[in-house]
Symmetry: C2
Subunit: 336 residues, 2 copies
DNA sequence: TTTATTCACGCAAACGATTACGAAATTTCT
DNA sequence: AGAAATTTCGTAATCGTTTGCGTGAATAAA
């Protein structure tokens, strides 16, 4: 394009390319006078070092990758927001990759990233991921890796998440406190540890209060139509729940849709709480009680930890596994 | 890292690096037998060409940049989704940059991108952008550029957007048909052409029906608190509107909040329609009538056009300025 | 004044891939 | 069979930066 490079700059200044390079990078081997002269002209001509040459020489890309299941989801958007913020402060660039919850796609992406294009990877794994080999290989290759939200427990890399078990416990307990006697769990199918953690929180709470779980655990999937059928069956069954704990936002929305169709009154007939980072749930009919994850902070922390690894700084123990508390925003869907 | 490179591969095969390179790229100058041998070993060793060396040599990064005001917004997430889809099919990588509606940040980003890091840029400009110089410079440098949604009319690059004027006209007309006599416009301040297009659509409709606009146009900003005050003043004024046309989703939400606080009944006392790509507006109380933009398609088209320019294919006239129609999803907030 | 140091800079070799050019070896054409 | 063309591959230059090493000059130490 503009083809203004080091050599050209050097010629204009009657200097060698190496001197110009050092001057621009603030080397102490160059006199202040020369530095000023170089920087002045570089500024004037709008010179920027070719990033590919730079990266090739230094084997450092100044770029990180964020791999996530979807972006059309407030939680992940907020994470991206946090990531972008710290990346930009560090002068880093951010590549984004979407898996659309497809294992094959996730494998392809990680495969392609193992070639120096990025200095590190942040990933929230897809819910169809059935093997860890692709992640282990990245880890073994020495490429810095950080998990966020959707963690693979068995792989020893730093992870940033929320206290899912505890939050799910409290969410379920909230329903109990509001008088629910039969509380159902709506969760996504799959092997994600995050799912089982939330399920455990739910089960722990029901056990604590000696409540039944039979026929109250519903595994849903990605298809809205199917989910609505499952929920309809649940609500029209012989012994319907009076409370629903939705492990993910999508399922709470499906529940609202079904309730509207069936004429089930929320919260009088059925109370609902759900993990969700959607602020407009406050405008729902009725307003939805949510468990909100600190998504922005999770993104920031995950990025910060990644940069620490990239810069080979040693992590303090808390950074190897940082957990951010979620909090309940109580609204009318669980009102008395 | 793994440091498996062309030279190493070549040594293993008793070939020269150039032959290996050509074989992998499917050159006709290499015998089929050699190609097979090379590809087999490359596959086995998981060889991938160093992207920086490749980019440096070819001055081609296989990367595009998407610059947008925010990601925590369904419209932009859906656009990203579309972009990522076509990029991945083309084997391209996607860098994401957020301006947070800050002009200075936008300038910095575009400045940094003018150095070969990307082969092309897609941008939706910030609403605080007051000058075009930074965009003109990108354009002059020959770096492929495409606008989407928020367009700068005076710069001659391909643009992908929706029929804002027409959609706003129809949205306003929808309110008229529902019986509104005094329709207010809530819009974001700034110089964006998209704002004036939507305003024009609103004004055209009111003119067509001979309706008044005095004191009914409210310019809002980014701060929710301020917006709510402005809307409160509007609704409590001497001559309040019975219909509201919100140019952006955020302002419809602010309006709902105010109405809830003031006890204003929607739609009986006040009808509302808004541009929005949030599907859960169907669950609002009452469900919000929206003007939905085909965000995913806009993202796909913008990316497709960008790739055409990058590959120096000539654009058909329609591609220089493609307009996707928005459509109204009628719900209870404008119900009779 | 002579000898060490330090300063300020240039030379040239990397980094890893691509590609113009050339040169054997083989095939095809007269 | 000899010339021409084709096939198949290697040599080396190149992309633009960074950096180890060397060198002359200026400065400090002896």
């Amino acid at each position: 394009m503009s083809t203004i490079n080091l050599k050209r700059l050097a010629e204009e200044l009657n200097l060698s390319a190496s001197t110009v390079s050092r001057a621009l990078r603030g080397s102490h081997e160059i006199s202040q006078e020369t530095k000023d002269r170089v920087k002045a002209l570089a500024e004037k001509l709008g010179f920027q070092p070719n990033p590919h040459a730079s990266s090739l020489r230094q084997s450092k890309s100044n770029t990180i990758a964020v791999v996530l299941p979807e972006i059309e989801n407030n939680f992940f958007s907020q994470v991206m927001n946090g990531v972008e913020d710290v990346a930009q402060k560090k002068g880093y660039h951010v590549l984004i990759y979407l898996t659309h919850e497809a294992f094959a796609r996730e494998k392809d992406i990680l495969q392609v990233l193992r070639n120096g294009r990025v200095d590190g990877i942040m990933i929230s794994v897809s819910n169809t991921t059935t093997s860890e080999e692709h992640l282990q290989e990245v880890n073994r290759s020495g490429l810095p890796l950080v998990f966020f939200d959707r963690i693979v427990e068995s792989i020893d890399v730093p992870r940033v998440s929320t206290d899912d078990t505890d939050a799910a416990f409290k969410g379920t307990e909230h329903l109990v406190e509001k008088g629910c006697k039969r509380i159902a769990l709506l969760s996504m199918s799959g092997l994600l540890s995050i799912s089982s953690r939330r399920r455990n929180g739910y089960l722990n709470a029901l056990k604590k209060y000696g409540m039944e779980t039979d026929g109250l655990q519903v595994e849903c999937g990605t298809d809205d139509e199917t989910n609505r059928r499952l929920i309809t069956a649940l609500l029209q069954g012989p012994n319907p729940p009076d409370g629903i704990f939705a492990a993910v936002e999508k399922l709470a929305i499906n529940t609202y849709e079904v309730c509207r169709q069936l004429g089930v009154k929320i919260p009088s007939q059925l109370k609902i709480i759900s993990f969700s980072n959607l602020s407009v749930t406050a405008l729902f009919d009725p307003p939805l009680t949510t468990i909100v994850q600190p998504a922005y902070e999770i993104g920031k922390e995950a990025a910060a930890v990644l940069f620490k690894i990239i810069q080979k700084k040693t992590l303090v123990p808390g950074e190897k596994k940082s957990v951010f508390p979620s909090h309940i925003v109580e609204r009318a869907s669980t009102g008395g």
